[in-house]
Symmetry: C2
Subunit: 291 residues, 2 copies
């Protein structure tokens, strides 16, 4: 089960004083390992001799700030892809985000810098920052410590226009979920309904939730069918369909075990961002020596 692979993407995190580099190009895949950031330089000068401050200034200069000195800043969950919130950044807010690695914005109403979480402690820990092609829009790609919205909601986007128009409601209560998380939400809903629908003929999802033998039998069967699409050289559309079956059934098992797919994706991210040093060590101590 202990396996590893190398040459991952690499990312750099930078502060005026310290250059953090997370090496994904030598990452490993093994349980019980943790994501680490390696300090490559505790100096204001990088290995190429450029001042880190100068580089940050050059970067800040390259952004097309609007007539109020602002650019749109969108915070996105690095594991789920959920858009957590949107605010605005000015030079200082972006510079602070790069330094502190906590998503920081400029409040237009209060005319002040604010770091998400400074009151609630629900910080958004920024792993990387992306600019758009026009250099006037920013993504803070990060991991939230808790619910982002001041209402306690996971994200600020919980008001679907479709519900407002159909139900004539003033407020919505359904998060903007992409396909994988809509599936997870639906399975969770079926799970919550189990007690109240005891005498009704259960749906397939409910049958799986109630019968561990059936569920495990289906997961093994679907995994086998996914493999058969490769072994029997079946059409790629069949592979996609079988993978959907594997995902669905495996996610029912996650619901039974009360595991979030976000936690699974976090594990994947952490395995892929292991440092080269750890990876080398793990390989030298790997029994098979084949990884």
């Amino acid at each position: 089960m202990a396996v590893s692979y190398y040459y991952m993407l690499q990312s750099v995190r930078l502060s005026p004083k310290t250059l953090f580099i997370s090496r994904r190009d030598c990452s490993g895949y093994s349980h019980k390992r943790r994501n680490r950031h390696i300090t490559f330089a505790s100096t204001e000068r990088s290995e190429k001799g450029f001042s880190v401050d100068t580089k940050v200034d050059t970067l800040l200069d390259s952004i097309k700030w609007d007539d109020k000195g602002l650019a749109v800043a969108i915070a996105q969950n690095i594991d789920t892809g959920a858009i957590l919130m949107q605010g605005f950044a000015n030079r200082k807010a972006l510079a602070t985000t790069l330094t502190s690695r906590k998503a920081t914005f400029f409040s237009r109403s209060r005319s002040a810098l604010w770091t998400k979480g400074e009151t609630s402690n629900n910080f958004i820990n920024v792993h990387d920052v992306f600019l758009d092609c026009d250099r006037d829009s920013i993504i803070y790609l990060g991991k939230p410590d808790g619910p982002t919205c001041h209402t306690g909601s996971e994200t600020c986007y919980y008001t679907p226009v479709s519900d407002l128009l159909k139900q004539d409601k003033d407020e919505g209560n359904r998060l903007a979920l992409t396909s994988l998380y809509a599936l997870e939400s639906t399975i969770a809903q079926r799970n919550a309904e189990l007690a109240s629908t005891e005498n009704q003929k259960p749906s397939w999802t409910k049958r799986l939730l109630l019968d561990n033998n059936l569920l495990c039998s289906k997961i093994r069967e679907e995994a086998g069918e996914l493999c058969q699409t490769l072994e029997n050289n079946e059409d790629k559309s069949q592979t996609a369909s079988e993978m959907a079956d594997v995902l669905y059934h495996a996610m029912v098992l996650l619901a039974v075990k009360d595991v979030k797919i976000e936690d699974v994706l976090q594990i994947i991210r952490q395995r892929f961002s292991q440092s080269g040093i750890e990876e080398k060590r793990s390989r030298s101590s790997n029994k098979s020596g084949k990884d």
Copy 2:
């Protein structure tokens, strides 16, 4: 293999003349079925007697447009969660998006309405629209017909600040990828490198890519280990870890078969948005009669 489940989330799509309702509350899970939108009303009045136009006006009135009559509008891929682009919407842009179901913005530089794709044909087909808690930020959750960025990039966010600061580059060339897609990208990279690293000791990912028997054996093994965490009542952290193994190995198979995880998630979404009528029919014709 043919299974079904009901009571999915529901969403409504609305135009001044036609109310489209996609019923997820009775959706089905079966191959060879397609996502359908049912026309519930071809009138300007909904079943509750409210004028659709009035409802849209009330909605538009509830949005906190800024001093220029604009709100931030973010287009997000409904399957992958990728932030495709960000623009601004005014009343007319949002109303047009609701009517046409094509992401439409207000261009500040040209002072004109524009629908993404009107020149390139790469429209963003909007499935639902979400508002944030402050009602001044909008998500267009939809499916793009092709690359969103005018540069031909899948999204406009391909410039990581970390790369700019580290490599002293003017432009980036790495998309803002969340964990699942970063994994997919890495596997694709290993796949592309296979030919050039023939004489090197291959990484685990490369070994899997080169050996179908090994890959299928691992997928079956990992699926079994995932099931065992349920069967043996193992800790939930072990379930998450085994699910990460299943996902990783299955995604290597997808790479071998040239299947994108986005296509798999689209299948899941389409299975979950089947109409109640179709679902009922499929159940009555289902051989097992158990779904």
